[in-house]
């Protein structure tokens, strides 16, 4: 019961955080907190098999799937705060609170009788006992589950599959396109220049210098340039001057 009273406030707080988290990634992490705490509560309640399955399947597989999809969709895809239906948030909160209040009051008034406990049911060990029931009484449901999982896997493949609408360009076509671009727009047909390699600077954020001393924009990634983390040519030149001063010949 100690575990319960420690974990219950944590779980409720994390679940409430799920409601208010602006970013979906934070919501996923809070959900992980709830799920791991639930796993501990399963372990407390003589369900070691479900404890393992909860951590492996829910926290391990399902939440990772959520995070993968979040990465595909864009991590900073935050929720919009604008209400499309007037009073939508207010009324749904009222409805939810009424529902929860009814549920909690109802549960609190019911007497559940004496707790029998799982000591006799688990006497061969939890996993063998579950297997015993699963493969006898529930064997049909278990087999149907396999059909469900195969259907879900096929469905996900069909939904995630993207048909190629244009034929894949061959090497010859790509080469012809490069030469065509050069003829029409003067675009350099060869590979882009590598970043600058100097005595003191050798990194992707260091632009290569053209013969006239200016930095070549083609030698650095557009992303780095947009972030503004590119070293400017005068900085590099300053370092070189420092080397030229007397005593700095190290």
């Amino acid at each position: 019961m100690v575990a319960f009273w420690i974990l219950a406030p944590v779980m409720v707080a994390a679940a409430l955080g799920l409601l208010f988290a602006r970013k979906a990634v934070h919501a996923a992490l809070l959900l992980a907190v709830v799920m791991i705490s639930l796993a501990v509560l399963y372990a407390v309640q003589d369900a070691p098999f479900l404890f393992a399955v909860q951590i492996i399947v829910y926290t391990g597989a399902i939440l990772m799937l959520f995070l993968f999809v979040l990465m595909l969709v864009g991590v900073d895809a935050s929720d919009s705060v604008v209400e499309t239906i007037r009073g939508h948030r207010l009324f749904s909160t009222i409805a939810g609170l009424a529902f929860g209040l009814t549920l909690v009051l109802g549960v609190a008034q019911v007497s559940f009788g004496t707790v029998i406990g799982l000591d006799s049911a688990n006497k061969d060990g939890n996993v063998p006992s579950i297997a015993q029931i699963l493969f006898t009484r529930y064997v049909f449901a278990f087999e149907v589950t396999s059909a469900l999982l195969i259907t879900a896997a096929l469905g996900a493949m069909v939904l995630a599959h993207r048909e190629r609408l244009t034929p894949k360009p061959t090497q010859a076509q790509l080469a012809a396109q490069r030469i065509k671009d050069y003829a029409e727009h003067g675009k350099h047909p060869g590979p882009l220049p590598p970043p600058g390699v100097f005595a003191r600077h050798n990194a992707v954020d260091t632009p290569a210098l053209l013969p006239d001393g200016t930095a070549s924009e083609a030698s650095i990634s557009r992303v780095l340039a947009a972030r503004g983390t590119v070293k400017s040519a005068p900085d590099i030149a300053a370092d070189i001057n420092e080397l030229d001063t007397p005593g700095g010949d190290a």
């Binding site: 219950a8 409720v12 409601l19 979906a24 709830v34 799920m35 479900l50 829910y58 749904s92 609190a108």
Partner: protein
């Protein structure tokens, strides 16, 4: 160990998940709230399994987990497909079926 606190916690978590489904607009967060509701019901199942002294509740919770896994796989694939065509994961934007 009494049963009531566990069931009350399960009810609270279920309610929070319910409110989340009603109020949140990001489809992925809505999905997480559905998962929270499934987890809350699992807690109730495991608790009742202990109260009644047989393992059927744990088996039911196990099946809920399996179905939840299948549901998440298909649901997230649907969200991805919608995102690919509409560039948005908001449930409000997927309203073309209405017209």
């Amino acid at each position: 160990m009494s049963v009531t606190p566990f069931i009350v916690l399960s009810a609270i978590l279920f309610t929070i998940g319910c409110v989340g489904v009603l109020t949140r607009r990001n489809a992925i967060v809505v999905f997480m709230c559905v998962e929270l509701m499934l987890n809350a019901s699992n807690l109730a199942l495991v608790t009742f399994s202990r109260a009644n002294g047989n393992l059927d509740g744990q088996i039911a919770a196990f099946f809920v987990m399996v179905v939840a896994a299948a549901e998440v796989v298909v649901g997230l694939a649907i969200i991805m497909t919608i995102f690919r065509s509409r560039r948005s994961a908001s449930v409000d934007d997927a309203s073309l079926l209405k017209y």
